[in-house]
C-alpha cells in the first residue's frame, strides 16, 4: 500500500464515494459516541437515583432500630433489599464501628468493607464492576451510624453495552444505506465528467474534432464545462478548416512559383551555357586566325625590314600576343563556367616557378620603383604535384595586381607550410601549403573581400 497514488489523483467516482463515506462515517461516529456516552450518563444517573431512594428509605427505617439497638429489626429492614439484585451486600455500622445488621445475614462484612471499589458517586469515567454507597444515618441531628451498600454494576454495564451495540448496528445500517445512496447519486455528478473525459481521450488519440459531448440535464457548472468543451471543439475544427484552406492555397502558390522559378532558372542556365559555348567556340575560332597572324608576323620579322617596318611588325606581334593571351583567359573562364576546366597533375618546381613569376613582373616593378621579392620557407619540398600552369597563372595575376596597385614600397611573395607564417585566417594541415602575396598598397576593399569567399 506504500505505492498508493495520491487521493487527489484518484478517479472522481472514488473520490466522491470516499468523501461521502468519510463525512457520513465521521458524523455517524460522533453521533454514536454521543449516544453511547449519554447512555452511560443516563444509566448511571438512573442507578444513582434508585440507590439514593433505597438508601433514604433504609436510613429512615433503621434509625429507630439503632436507637433501640434492635439488630433483629435492623436485619429485617435490610432484608428488604432482597428483591434488588444489584445490591450484593449491605450493612449498618454504628458510631463505635460495630456492625448492627448485615444483608445477607451471612455477609463477610470485613472483606467487603476492605475491598477497594469506587465510592458513593458514579462518574462517566468510573468503569468498575461494583461500587460502594455510604450513607450516614442521621436522626434528629444526631448521627447514629452509617449504611453501607456494595452495588453490583454489571447489569448496568450490560444495559449500556446493549445500548451501544444497538447504536452500532443502527449506525452500520444507516452508513450502508448512506453509501448506497451516495453511490447512486454520485453518478449524476461523475458520469457527465467521465463522458467528457472519455471524449477528451478519444479526441486526443484519434484527433477527431467532429465529436461532440451530449449535454444532458445536469449541474450548471458541468453544463458550462460541456458546452464550453463543445464550443472549443467547434472552434478548433473551424480553425483547422481555415488552416487547411490557406495551406492548400499556399501550396498551390508555392507550386506555381517553383515552376516559374525552375523555368527561369533553366532558361538562365541554358542562356549561360549558350554564352559559354559561344565564348568557347568564339575563342577557339579566334585563336586559329590569331595563330596565323602571330606565325605570319614572326615570319615577317625574319625578313629584311627597315626600321619603321620592323617597329610596326613588332607592335603587331605584341598586340597579337596580348590578344591571344586575353582570348586564352576568356576560354579558361568559359571552361570554368561550363565545368570543363581540367587540372593537370604534374611536378611543380615551386622555387623556379616563383622566380619566373617575379622576374616576369620585375621590369614593371622597377619602373614604378617598387621592390619585389620571393621567398620559399625552409623545409618546403622542392617538387610538388599539381597544375604548374594554373599556379603560375594565379600567382602571376596576383603579383601583377599587387604591383599595379602598389605606388611605392614592396611586394613580397612567399611559399610556406607553417601556420604561424601564414595569414591569421589560414590554418594549414599536413600536406597543405600557402602561397602568400603581400604588398604595401591600399589592400582589397572590404566589399571586394566578401566576394572572395
Amino acid at each position: 500500500m506504500s505505492a498508493q497514488p495520491d487521493f487527489a489523483s484518484r478517479p472522481l467516482k472514488n473520490q466522491l464515494r470516499a468523501i461521502v463515506a468519510i463525512t457520513t462515517g465521521f458524523g455517524l461516529l460522533l453521533t454514536m459516541l454521543y449516544f453511547a456516552l449519554s447512555s452511560v450518563v443516563r444509566e448511571q444517573g438512573s442507578m444513582m437515583r434508585q440507590l439514593d431512594s433505597i438508601a433514604e428509605i433504609i436510613v429512615s427505617n433503621s434509625a429507630a432500630a439503632i436507637r433501640f439497638n434492635d439488630n433483629a429489626a435492623a436485619n429485617v429492614v435490610l432484608a428488604a433489599l432482597g428483591n434488588r439484585n444489584e445490591i450484593r451486600a449491605a450493612w449498618i455500622t454504628l458510631q463505635d464501628g460495630s456492625v448492627l445488621a448485615t444483608y445477607p445475614a451471612d455477609a463477610d462484612i470485613k472483606s467487603l468493607s476492605l475491598a477497594e471499589v469506587p465510592g458513593n458517586r458514579l462518574s462517566i469515567l468510573t468503569v468498575s464492576r461494583e461500587m460502594r454507597l455510604n450513607q450516614p444515618i442521621v436522626h434528629e441531628g444526631e448521627t447514629l451510624g452509617s449504611l453501607n451498600m456494595t452495588v453490583d454494576l454489571r447489569d448496568m454495564w450490560r444495559h449500556i453495552l446493549e445500548d451501544a451495540l444497538l447504536g452500532l448496528l443502527t449506525t452500520a445500517i444507516v452508513f450502508a444505506f448512506a453509501l448506497r445512496l451516495a453511490n447512486r447519486l454520485q453518478r449524476r455528478i461523475s458520469e457527465p465528467l467521465l463522458e467528457l473525459a472519455n471524449a477528451t481521450r478519444q479526441i486526443a488519440e484519434d484527433g477527431r474534432y467532429d465529436l461532440r459531448v451530449e449535454a444532458k440535464p445536469q449541474a450548471a457548472e458541468t453544463s458550462t464545462l460541456i458546452n464550453g468543451f463543445n464550443r472549443m471543439l467547434e472552434e478548433i475544427a473551424a480553425r483547422d478548416r481555415e488552416l487547411q484552406l490557406s495551406r492548400d492555397v499556399l501550396e498551390q502558390q508555392v507550386d506555381v512559383r517553383t515552376g516559374e522559378l525552375r523555368i527561369a532558372k533553366e532558361q538562365a542556365e541554358a542562356a549561360n551555357r549558350a554564352k559559354s559555348q559561344f565564348l568557347a567556340n568564339m575563342s577557339h575560332e579566334i585563336r586559329t586566325p590569331m595563330n596565323g597572324v602571330i606565325g605570319m608576323t614572326d615570319l615577317l620579322l625574319e625578313t629584311p625590314l627597315n626600321r619603321e617596318q620592323r617597329h610596326f611588325a613588332d607592335t603587331v606581334r605584341l598586340s597579337a600576343n596580348s590578344l591571344l593571351h586575353l582570348i586564352n583567359e576568356i576560354l579558361d573562364f568559359s571552361k570554368i563556367e561550363a565545368g570543363k576546366l581540367v587540372l593537370e597533375e604534374s611536378p611543380i618546381h615551386i622555387g623556379p616557378l616563383l622566380e619566373e613569376v617575379i622576374l616576369g613582373q620585375a621590369g614593371r616593378a622597377q619602373a614604378k620603383n617598387v621592390e619585389i621579392a620571393g621567398h620559399v620557407s625552409a623545409g618546403m619540398p622542392e617538387i610538388l604535384l599539381g597544375d604548374p600552369h594554373r599556379i603560375r597563372q594565379m600567382v602571376g595575376n596576383l603579383v601583377n595586381n599587387a604591383v599595379k596597385f602598389t605606388a611605392e614600397g614592396e611586394v613580397t611573395v612567399y611559399v610556406t607550410q607553417r601556420s604561424e607564417e601564414a595569414p591569421a585566417e589560414l590554418t594549414l594541415g599536413a600536406n597543405e601549403y600557402a602561397i602568400v602575396v603581400c604588398d604595401s598598397g591600399p589592400g582589397i576593399p572590404a566589399a571586394a573581400k566578401e566576394q572572395l569567399r
Binding site: 429507630a64 432500630a65 436507637r67 429485617v76 429492614v77
Partner: protein, 187 residues
C-alpha cells in the same frame, strides 16, 4: 419507579416483622447495665413521641421527666438530665402526688404500687403526659408504654388508644419496634 414502590412496601413489611422479636444481641457494643438500658429506652420513647404545642410554654421550655417512686431505674433516669431532644433540655424530677404529675411531660412509674398507678393514670389521662413503667400489665391498667423482658431481651408494648386519647403522637417507627400495640377501640 415500580421497583421503588415495591421496595418501600417490603421495607414496611420488614418493620412489622420486627414485632415478632428476635434474640437480643448487643454486637460489639460495651454492655450497658440493665438500668442504663431501661433509661436509654425511656429516652428513645421521648424521642419518638410528639407533644402537642400547648404542652410547652415556649419553644425552649425544658421537657420534664418525672420519676414516681425511688428504685434503681429511677436513679439511672437521673442520668438523662441535661440531654436534648428536639431542642428541649430534659429535666428530671421525683414526684409523689398526682398533682405533681400533672406538670410532667413524661412520667416513669418506678415503684410497683398498682393501685397508686391507677389513680395517677386517671389523673393525667387527658393530659399530654407520656406514661412509662416496667411494672407488669402496665398498659392494661391505662399506661401508655410498658417495658418487659421477653426472650431474655428488653422489649416494650404500647397502648396506642391511651396515647392518642392524651393527644400525644407515637412515631410509627416506635410502634413498629413495639412487641405489642393495643389499638384504639374506636377503630
Amino acid at each position: 419507579m415500580h421497583s421503588r414502590r415495591r421496595l418501600l412496601r417490603s421495607v414496611l413489611a420488614a418493620g412489622s416483622a420486627a414485632l415478632l422479636g428476635l434474640p437480643l444481641a448487643y454486637g460489639q457494643q460495651a454492655p450497658l447495665s440493665d438500668q442504663q438500658l431501661r433509661a436509654a429506652f425511656v429516652l428513645n420513647f421521648i424521642r419518638y413521641t410528639e407533644w402537642p404545642e400547648r404542652a410547652f410554654a415556649a419553644p425552649d421550655t425544658p421537657l420534664m421527666l418525672c420519676v414516681l417512686g425511688n428504685d434503681p431505674t429511677g436513679v439511672a433516669l437521673g442520668g438523662l438530665a441535661g440531654k436534648t431532644v428536639k431542642g428541649r433540655t430534659i429535666q428530671v424530677r421525683t414526684v409523689n402526688t398526682a398533682d405533681e404529675a400533672r406538670n410532667c411531660h413524661a412520667l416513669f412509674f418506678a415503684d410497683a404500687d398498682a393501685r397508686r398507678h391507677v389513680s395517677i393514670l386517671r389523673a393525667v389521662q387527658t393530659l399530654p403526659v407520656l406514661t412509662i413503667s416496667d411494672s407488669d400489665s402496665f398498659i392494661d391498667i391505662g399506661g401508655m408504654i410498658g417495658l418487659l423482658y421477653l426472650d431474655s431481651r428488653l422489649q416494650f408494648e404500647v397502648n396506642l388508644a391511651v396515647v392518642q386519647h392524651s393527644q400525644l403522637k407515637s412515631s410509627s417507627q416506635l410502634l413498629r419496634l413495639a412487641r405489642n400495640v393495643i389499638e384504639s377501640k374506636a377503630r
